[in-house]
């Protein structure tokens, strides 16, 4: 695999920057070129790239391996992984650009509920600034000042994490309300299902062992002897469905892919 010799020397750094600049210019040039193509031409490019990359990963997985656990394609996994990272970074940049553009337009044109857009933009800029600065300080590239440390802690630990956890915990309240209203024993099957659910719900928590020493064992038997075979059957079905879908995506037969 081609590598830059001594990337930390001034010459190596120069070559690195030249490569980055060249790649940037190439991508910027590709965008208008792709836009200029007719839809059928664009579709053909996407179909070909999807097929080749899919073929690469499938072939690498299925081809026999030697004593070093490799085949002739295994060494190409690293560049493929880096390509995936680059594509993801591009997608992230594109997403950020789209998000900022949309909400900036809402604010500038005073559209309906533009205040929310303003809150989003301010939160986005503040969080990104502190987050990037914190990452750089972890790498020793900028000084970790008390403002940065406290600011990041306030924004990440005390705001983002708490809001995220609170949002998810609301599900428990909906489940409680839904279980009360919807879990009705209208048939023998529903009765069996409810009885099983109660045994598992109580059996897996310490209260179950306090009520009866046999309850945890019964709950475990239900999970391993009844649940596991059913799950296996479902996973077989899902697996076959997933394989069919993967083939359709690989061959670009799925509508909406291109």
């Amino acid at each position: 695999m081609w590598q830059i010799q001594n990337p930390n020397t001034p010459t190596g750094q120069l070559i690195l920057w030249m490569i980055v600049l060249g790649a940037f210019i190439m991508i910027m040039g590709l965008v208008p070129l792709l836009h200029a193509l007719p839809p059928r031409g664009r579709r053909a490019i996407i179909v070909i790239i999807t097929f080749i990359t899919g073929l690469f990963f499938a072939t690498e997985f299925f081809l026999p391996i030697n004593k070093e656990q490799k085949n002739f394609l295994t060494d190409a996994i690293q560049p493929a992984q880096q390509a995936v990272q680059v594509i993801t970074a591009l997608a992230l940049g594109l997403g950020t650009y789209g998000l900022v553009r949309l909400h900036l337009r809402n604010v500038v044109q005073r559209r309906t509920q533009w205040g929310y857009s303003l809150v989003l933009l301010i939160s986005f800029v503040v969080m990104a600034t502190f987050s990037i600065a914190n990452t750089l300080s972890e790498q020793g590239l900028v000084e970790k000042t008390p403002l940065l440390e406290q600011g990041f802690k306030l924004l990440f630990d005390y705001t983002l994490v708490q809001l995220d956890a609170a949002m998810f915990s609301l599900i428990a309240f909906y489940i409680f309300s839904a279980a009360y209203r919807a879990f009705r024993i209208r048939s023998v099957e529903a009765g069996i299902l409810m009885f099983t659910a109660i045994v598992v719900m109580i059996g897996v928590v310490p209260l179950g062992a306090t009520i009866s020493p046999y309850l945890p064992g019964v709950a475990n038997w239900i999970l391993t002897s009844l649940n596991a075979p059913v799950q296996r059957a479902i996973e077989f079905g899902v697996g076959i469905g997933g394989l069919a879908m993967a083939i359709r995506l690989w061959l670009s037969l799925e509508r909406g892919v291109t």
Binding site: E138, L141, L163, Y180, V205, P206, L223
Partner: protein, 279 residues
């Protein structure tokens, strides 16, 4: 003509959801604050998990895949804390990896907070590889050439220069992989990680049911299910962690849900009977 008001059963069936929310909230707060400690019956998957880590030798290398964010903090944080504490007790070295940005920050900060307890030093005893964007390709890359795949850790140090990873070129040299996650990432580790490397799993409670097939087949060697699994694990370790603190609220929330399912069915049955009697 005088019309009768709604019966108690009708009122129960149309109970305001805010009353239900308030009851659950009060139940959770009460049992989080009450200092009751109930001993758990350790489930076989948790016991297997514990036994596998007990088999580790000092210096053995373990990969922890930490892919949870704040939304599942109540379940995954007690698991990760208990696992790291056990690894430190066994003097096993570990590296962390994530598949998204928030889980990278959370797991790095959590490990940075816990590791001084065991006298662990970053770079020598543990390290964080940051987050990777595609887990499948990254696992395959790490099996083939770990330093080239990860390149730098969260502190910007090339992983080949970390004392912890001296002589480590592949995931094959790891003794164990522990997946702490609310997502279905464990099939990726099973499919693409080296077959000789043991896989242990820490899912959230809702994800655990699917994993029993892998436990049965031996593809997963042990499993800690949610916060209640963490409590069992803490009991085995002889410590009081987040799992032990959370489990009472979980236990009695289960009881409350069951009680209200029963009451809902009773109200429905009695209401129907009353309507039949009234013609």
């Amino acid at each position: 003509m005088q019309t009768r008001g709604p019966s108690i059963w009708e009122r129960m069936l149309s109970i305001d959801r805010r009353i239900l929310y308030l009851l659950l909230f009060a139940n959770i707060v009460l049992f989080l604050l009450l200092p009751i400690r109930m001993r758990a019956a350790v489930s076989p998957p948790v016991q297997k998990f514990y036994d596998e880590i007990e088999k580790l030798q000092p210096g053995d290398l373990v990969m922890i895949s930490s892919n949870w964010s704040a939304s599942t903090l109540a379940e995954n944080q007690p698991q990760l804390e208990a696992v790291i504490r056990h690894l430190m007790r066994k003097k096993a070295k570990f590296t962390l990896i994530s598949v998204e940005a928030q889980s990278r920050d959370i797991s790095y900060r959590l490990a940075s907070r816990l590791t001084p307890e065991g006298g662990y030093e970053y770079g020598r005893d543990w390290a964080h590889f940051g987050f990777v964007t595609n887990l499948i390709v990254s696992i395959k890359g790490m099996v083939n050439n770990l330093p080239d795949t990860i390149k730098k850790d969260v502190r910007g140090t090339p992983v080949s220069e970390l004392p912890l990873l001296k002589g480590i070129t592949s995931l094959r040299q790891y003794k164990m992989i522990i997946d702490v996650t609310p997502s279905a990432t464990v099939p990726f580790w099973i499919s693409y990680a080296p077959k000789e490397t043991k896989i242990l799993y820490c899912p959230t409670s809702v994800m655990a049911a699917e994993a029993y097939t892998f436990l049965d087949s031996g593809q997963i060697k042990g499993m800690i299910t949610g916060a209640k699994g963490a409590q069992e694990y803490e009991q085995l370790l002889g410590i009081v962690g987040l799992g032990t603190r959370f489990v009472n609220a979980i236990s009695f929330s289960h009881v409350l849900i069951i009680l209200f399912i029963f009451l809902g069915n009773l109200a429905l049955f009695m209401n129907r009977r009353q309507m039949r009697q009234e013609g």
